[in-house]
Amino acid sequence: MTGANGFSVSGYGPQRSSWTRLFARDSLARRLDWPILFSAIALSLIGAALVYSATRNRTELNQGDPYYFLVRHLLNTGIGFALMIGTVWLGHRTLRTAVPILYGISVFLVLLVLTPLGATINGAHAWIVIGGGFSLQPSEFVKITIILGMAMLLAARVDAGDKPYPDHRTVLQSLGLAVVPILIVLLMPDLGSVMVMVIIVLGVLLASGASNRWIFGLIGTGAVGAIAVWQLGILDEYQINRFAAFANPELDPAGVGYNTNQARIAIGSGGLFGTGLGKGSQTTGQFVPEQQTDFVFTVAGEELGFVGAGLILLLLGIVLWRACRIARETTELYGTIVAAGIIAWFAFQSFENVGMTLGIMPVAGLPLPFVSYGGSSMFAVWVAVGLLQSIRVQRPMSA
């Protein structure tokens, strides 16, 4: 194994700095996954337009500056992009060594949310207010550290060639690693993130080649856990109502069913081509709540129509499709697991987010990757893109 060579990837280094060399055969640029990159950029820019459309009139939020959210969204995208470059620079293998530190930091941060430093935004006690209008949602980063941590444990002996699959002990260890932050997030409670994390764990275990017993065991535990959560009354009333409203959308259309109803009206009224950006009556009339964040897809549905909303799904599909390819093509199990974790994360979160606006999933406070406004989420998904790129770039490491 030549993992230590991670930095001296061909086409990447100070000795070859010219543009032509950058794009030379086997160069870094050649090996980057451009479809993912372009799709991620396109999604972020579409997101910027949608966020702008949803917030330009909301003086109570944007402090009188119609571009407030647009600028910040673009800024977040830029920071996210830089984080991606940094991630590629460091490489996922380097990050592997840093997993204990990253894990420690993220668990510390989620614990911090439970202290008085934590803040409740939209019913979810999942935030740390930094000040200056900035706030952090540590659970977004926990998703990454869970992926990296579990991948590190599960792939260690397989990549070393000791075993074809992770053994039970390793699986148990990795689960233990994941359960700690998940429990903390559950206590917040940030149920949406917990759901995503559980799916991530499932994806990671699937890709690790762990025994089927673990897979079905986890699904069973998840089901029992969900019933337990329901029965033990850990859920807040608003969360129960969301499920009730999902089960019966006509229930109290002015109350709990309101969001989903209005979201569906917004999307449905878009038709094929939509009303045009900034012209959607549901959007300008602010009939849909949280339209720049969790319900951003309704803006696309109303103002860009089936064509625009479908494009977002298509771009997400490209990211996921390419990510699947990366997972399949990488030579180490570590990379495969990381990619699979990211796929599970993106896929579930996108499905849940879009699904709830379309009325086929219950409402949960989850952002749409790249598109929704929100720094923490944006940073996390771009770091994930960086990890995917890194796996792809460093694939032929033994060459």
Binding site: I267, S269, S281, G310, L320, W321, L333, F351, V354, S398
Partner: protein, 751 residues
Amino acid sequence: MTNIPETGRTPRVQIRLVVIQILVLSLLGTLGARLWYLQIREGDAYAKEASGNHVQQVVSPAVRGSILDARGVPIADNETRLVVSASRTDLLKMKDDGKAVLSKLAGVLGLKAKDVIEKVRLCDSKTPQPCWNGSPYQPIPVTDEATPKQALQIRERAEDFPGITAEPQAVRRYAAPGEANTAQVLGYLSPVTDEEITKAKDTDSPYLRSDQVGRSGLERQYDKALRGKAGVTRYEVDKLGRVIGQAKSDKAEPGANVVTSIDSRVQRVAEYELNQAMKDARKELDRNTGENYKADSGAVVVMEAKTGRVVAMASNPSYDPNAWVGGISGKDYTRLTGKDSNYPLLNRAIQGQSAPGSVFKVIPTAAAVNAGYSFDGPYQCSSSYSVGGQVFKNFESKGYGPISLGRALEVSCDTVFYRLSHEEWKRDGGIKPNKNAGDWFYKTAHQFGLGKETGIDLPNEVTGRVPDRQWKQDYWKANKDAWCKYGKKGGTYAQQIAYENCLEGNRLRAGDSVNYAIGQGDTLVTPIQMATIYGAISNGGTLYDPTVGKAIVSPDGKTVQEIKPKSHGKLPMTQQTLSEIDGALEGVATRGTAAWRFGGWPQDEIPMHAKTGTAEVYGKQTTSWFTTYTEDYTVVMTISQGGTGSGASGPAVRKIYNALYGVSEDGAIDKKKALLPEPQKSLPKIEKDGSIDSPKAEAYPPPKDEQASEEGQQPVNGDNPAATVPDPNTGNNRDTRRRTARPKKRRRTLT
């Protein structure tokens, strides 16, 4: 690059990765399908729901057009009242939901703050009155009786009263120029019903809950033109109801003005004289019943003979149409429609029908000629005529010997017509008609336009009735059960009649034909039908549809849609017969039954034609009919239970002519005093801005001058008009106050 992994990747992981990939893509596929379902398949439904979500309408009422008389004097127009309204949309933007502003407003208006706040709140199932049950986007009226001073206070300190407006608004007013109230012709407005609101909801001109709709008379007939088009502004609102944009705005278009052929001065004379004639009749003793005449109701029509245009139309009892303005009170409503009200809302000129008596005789005259009898006769005018043992007497049992049909008209000889009608009846086969029965007497009546509406431009005209064979059959069918049940041979008179009707009520009996010949029995006509017929005799035989509306003038005055005279047929007689009848009717006025009423009339200058009628009604006193015409006008008057034609109606009709032509009792013509020696041909002058000139002296007379000028208008009237003005049904103090003093003062101050 190779797709085959270079590691010893186990197939388990590889298979699971494919499973993940398929799962991921199927999730995205699910989203895509659902998106297609919502946006493409159900898209239209959602789009509709979205527009219902965010569009709110604010309707601003259109100012209703005026109804003007022939000279442009408004007989129905609008007065301006100061309405202070509060906009909920604006109030809710304030921190305390506008409570402070409303309290301040209450202070200015001299109301209690609580009352104002309650008026502005929205109605729902839990909120008791007062509350606003209209659209929350509509300005909510707080008061419509603000003084100019209060309005100015609100307007000048607009910054202290955000969301509050004080604006003049138009409210219907029936001006009654020169005391001509024209009530039944004008009709009235009443609030729109829920059903009408629902029906008009999606049309161009939706109703406001506060809208008024024409229910009768001209207000109803020309409602569409008068109403105009309400302005609709569609606002886009957000989910809190805040206005975020104006989607569409249609300005309110004021209603068109309707110019009528009514001359309010003549109208006033007609109303006054009708009322006077009825009062006089009540002083007369009816020798048949031994009591004074009741004169319970009456009508008079003054019509242009050559066009059918109605110059005046009065019905008595009358009422003040202003009672309807701003919602009629329960007390007023009972007074106007209750059992003891004598139904002043009825326009008896078109809705009152009664047996015409002798004024009908022009019809059997024409019918006889058409049936082949010669006009000159001679026909025996005996004092009575018997049919099957039943004796039909001549009026006052007077005989005139053998006379012509013309003379029979002049002296109103009944027996001549009895005989002719009876002969015709026999010729047609009597009680069992021949196949080719001519039924000339009935056919002619139909040709004269009886038994159907004249087509006047007023709603709910009644048809009258020609009691021909067909009608007999229909009527018998409808009533025979009742008759047969009640009828008893040899019982009381009523029972005997019912018994006979039960047996052969479907047959046209000899007695029926005899009674019919002099406009008795089951014959019914309306005054407007008589006016149309006598007008046709005057104009050479054309039966015009009577019209009140003369032109519809758009609010800007640019479009004038004239309402042209329309004919519905010709009199069924030759010019020869027509001129012979015309001559006979002139004879009535000069030497016949009406001559005593036209003593001293300048017959050479203004040839007068007349026919009197005294119709007998079973169980009631006689109906007075008087039909007259000159070259230009037809005047028909009838008074129920009023006595004889010439006796009760004669003086009033004469006085109307006096006023029209400026004739004094001694026959002198003073053109200056003539109100309308010739029909008003032209429309009133319409200014460039759309306003219509109206003679000043009429429009703004100070009350005292008004009376003085009225005296001048009616020089022949011996009584003091001022003392006789009040009508028992029009003395509504509230309305009088409303339409005189206040609005004028306000208008001056505000604009």
